[in-house]
Symmetry: C2
Subunit: 346 residues, 2 copies
DNA sequence: TTGTTGGATGAAAACGTTTGCGCTCTTCCG
DNA sequence: CGGAAGAGCGCAAACGTTTTCATCCAACAA
């Protein structure tokens, strides 16, 4: 199981210098056809595989980018990962995927590691929403030395290109949809209030209410604090145990909505009879739920590939305006969980 | 945005040699406390981040492993990814996740790339089931030069440690469950027949039938050829259009079952009244489907962490029997999609 | 005083590539 | 035939670490 063959070994076997062997295999510089053949044959015999570390050191580029997402088990992020990978592949680059588990600390750890590995750039769905929380990071890593693109979430005050979906508009549309169905008490479960994407969604929700002259009741908006199934369950339960229960509920994240379903089932509430429901981010099983789920669908694929392309632009020295915000439209997919119902006098 | 600070820069600023600076920051060798402080201060001022490439070159270890899975969007694999990551983290290693998209070609491309990056080892859910198909790969990469552990699927004839779940037993249990409910015509949708995991599941299904003296009807087993939602849809449709439709259906993969649901809905068939259903791999939404879905749940977390630990053992020169097969038990989670029903005389 | 430790340091060699430079040799033009 | 051009190739210097080895110096025992 000895050590791997090196360029030196190949050169020796082919009877050339290391330089020529490198040129023959690497496709740079000039080599005679006959020499190239000898080298290639030798390489095959020795099972030669170039050492990417050494190459990267010399070339000062790793042809690798990093991608830090909140939680790979969230299908929204999984789709982003795939989209970024396929987009990046076209530039002959690789992607290192990291999972921050929605913790600022992990996120920075990963960012640091990626920096140490000298990736050419990173795409991050930032866990914090204010530069304050990651001030050292922004100086040290994001935008300091590292080409960075933010995805899914913006960071206030950071001068970094960002690709997001239009959370305000989407929440506005979802809320209006409920209002037009006659709902007046509309609850909202948000992930972490502090996340930029979440504040946008709350804002859209608020605006839609005000527009239709419904007072914005702070107590109907519950912060699940965490972004996960468990958190969604507890937040929903808390909301349902209020004395005057909402007739409709918008759950602003993929995993939270599962938790919400758990809570609703436990309470024996019917959808949409007792309470109507809108989730965030579509998923394969959504049309097959007991009541097919109405969702706000974010363009995950487009977000991923556009972010990747921005990063590749920056990598090729094309300057990209650091205050660039690309905002993509979400769409409301209406299914039965928010369908019309007959109102008993309330 | 100039180049990153190097150890040389730090040494110069601290007034020491490169060697001492390295010792101070790297925690190896002996340094006087005072010197260390000077170096650390200098490093902080210069925002020094060690170059992992250079370090790895010298140390001949990257503290990184590769993980190649079939499809990151399949929640079963997503869970494996997470499990491997958390397990590997305990060894101060990183994980590079690759998505083979269930194609042998992509898988080998990724394996080669990982080899070039000199990862310390790889965990692979192999796309092919026979050494034949990846003969070059097994020589060049898996088991050739690279520490390898297979996960989820075994490869016949490959002498490589493998962690799988007991597919035969699980399929046997699921099928028997159906038989005990009175079903006699039980259909099966498999992913790619050639996949080792799939042959195991078919075998378990077959044995259960024979045990109860039900003839094994080849035409009830449909190979979806691909492992994806679309493939599941087409395969199920094909099966349903047979003249004598089955009364129960086992769908042996996470994504296929969604496709099956699509097909069933399109045909207007009720679950379990018209056709009972068992899926493979649990998912968050499964209990909330129109009819909560009975599934075979594989221990994805355990598989991931055990595979990781095996690999780490091998990495630390501990010899691991290459024919080691670790087989973990799956469990049948019974929900309503396979519940008892009243039989009209058939 | 002298010899012996041993801790702290620096010089320099590796790790495996890529690449600038210079050398040789052929070819081709005037 | 003289000389320019340029293809083909090798030497050696990088890239930024870690590590071996030698050196220096203080401390200490004889």
């Amino acid at each position: 199981m000895g050590p791997l063959a090196t360029l030196g070994d190949v050169a020796q076997r082919a009877g050339t210098s290391v330089a020529t062997a490198g040129r023959a295999l690497g496709g740079y510089g000039k080599v005679a056809a006959a020499t190239r053949d000898r080298v290639v044959a030798a390489a095959r015999q020795l099972n030669y595989h170039p050492n990417a570390l050494a190459r990267s050191m010399k070339q000062r580029s790793t042809f690798t980018i990093g991608l830090i997402v909140g939680n790979i088990c969230n299908s929204f992020f999984a789709r982003i990962v795939r989209a970024v990978e396929t987009a990046i592949m076209r530039y002959d680059c690789k992607v290192i995927v990291c999972d921050s588990d929605e913790s600022v600390e992990n996120e920075l750890d990963h960012a640091r590691t990626l920096l140490e590995h000298r990736v050419d750039g990173i795409i991050v769905s930032p866990t914090a929403s204010e530069t304050g929380e990651l001030s050292r990071a922004t100086k040290e890593i994001y935008g300091g030395r590292m080409l960075t693109v933010f995805i899914d979430r913006a960071v206030k005050g950071a001068r970094i290109p960002t690709v997001v979906s239009d959370n305000v508009a989407a929440a506005h549309e979802a809320t209006t949809h409920f209002i037009e169905l006659g709902h007046k008490r509309i609850g909202a479960i948000v992930g972490r209030k502090a996340l930029d994407s979440m504040t946008g969604r709350i804002e859209g929700y608020r605006r839609a209410l005000l527009e239709r002259h419904i007072t914005f009741d702070e107590s109907l908006v519950v912060d699940a604090v965490d972004v996960g199934v468990e958190a969604g369950y507890h937040a929903t339960k808390k909301l349902l145990e209020r004395n005057h229960r909402p007739t409709a509920l918008i759950v602003m994240n993929n995993l939270l909505v599962i938790g919400a379903l758990n809570a609703l089932k436990e309470k024996g509430l019917m959808i949409p009879g007792d309470i109507a429901l809108i989730g965030w981010d579509d998923f394969d099983a959504a049309p097959h739920l007991q009541k097919p789920l109405t969702v706000v669908e974010q363009p995950a694929d487009a977000m991923g590939s556009i972010a990747a392309e921005q990063l590749m632009k920056m990598r090729s020295k094309e300057t990209v305006d650091p205050s660039l915000h690309i905002v993509l439209k979400s769409t409301l997919i209406i299914r039965e969980s928010s369908e019309k119902r007959i109102w008993k006098k309330s």
